[in-house]
Amino acid sequence: MERNFDFEKIEKRLPYTVPDGFFDRLEADVMREAGITTGKPACIRRRLWHKMTLAAASAAAAVAMCVVMNVETCGRQAYGYDDVEQAFSGLSNDDQAYILQVYQDDIFMNQ
């Protein structure tokens, strides 16, 4: 029987297959045997590190901003006399007496 074999018909077809996920497992096994410790690619580890650093820096900046803004806003917040009187009247008699005693000689309040 004459056959007419043609490389172009069969191209690069192989009768071989591999299990699903084989190449990823192969890579992981090689890394482990070669003593390359981490499971994440180096580029992903660097991105995670950058994100963590950025998050920490942002948190620190936010805390610093809160501290600064809290100090600044305390001084600028405008309380009326009525607000102060209302707050004072809410205190107990002993507390009111204590405050009056402490501040009766205050040189700034009694200028």
């Binding site: 004459e2 074999f5 009768p15 071989y16 084989f22 090689v30």
Partner: protein, 186 residues
């Protein structure tokens, strides 16, 4: 060097630079590009998946551990294929089961479960691999690396310790023998 479109297409120059700067990161790029070509190159020589898996793993570990010896006097791909070929030939010598499987499959004397990772129903493909494996080793290597991997004659010469002229002669001799085999009644 041509690569399968599925592979990450980092150039060999970039991989070498990365390996010198950061071996771990560079090696991930190398594996991304070469893990499939190396495996299939080995598989075509040893046939059995388990043997190819072991040899491929050995090859890559050797590549990583001996990268300091790569001087750049040949292409990275040639150097990698040389190591992979050596591991494949060692495995093929240790275990000749693969050739027996193909022979039996073609003769329809063997019924094997699909988990051998060989498609015995593709008779033409099985027969072609048997034809290639029946060639002298140098013709086998020249044919496989040229036909399946698209390596140049010079790259194959570097990988096999030969000359480009010899590789070219081996390749054409291999092709002719394969065509004769495939067209015969054997």
């Amino acid at each position: 060097m041509k690569t399968d479109n599925r592979q990450t297409t980092y150039s060999d120059e970039r991989i070498v630079k990365a390996m010198r700067k950061s071996p771990e990161e560079g090696f991930r790029l190398l594996m991304g590009k070469y893990r499939e070509p190396v495996y299939w190159h080995i598989r075509r020589l040893v046939v059995v998946h388990d043997d190819a898996q072991d040899a491929a793993q050995e090859a890559f570990v050797r590549i990583f551990r001996s990268f300091d010896t790569f001087r750049g006097d040949c292409s990275l791909g040639s150097w990698i294929y040389r190591i992979a070929t050596n591991e494949a030939l060692r495995a093929a010598e240790r275990n000749k089961e693969g050739h027996r499987l193909l022979r039996a499959a073609e003769e329809a004397t063997l019924l094997l479960p699909a988990d051998n990772y060989i498609d015995y129903t593709d008779l033409e493909a099985v027969r072609l691999q048997k034809a290639i494996l029946s060639l002298p080793r140098k013709q086998q290597l020249a044919f496989n690396m040229r036909y399946y991997d698209g390596l140049s004659y010079a790259e194959i010469a570097d990988a096999t310790g030969s000359t480009a002229a010899n590789v070219k002669a081996n390749y054409h001799a291999a092709k002719e023998k394969i065509v004769n085999y495939m067209n015969s009644n054997d």
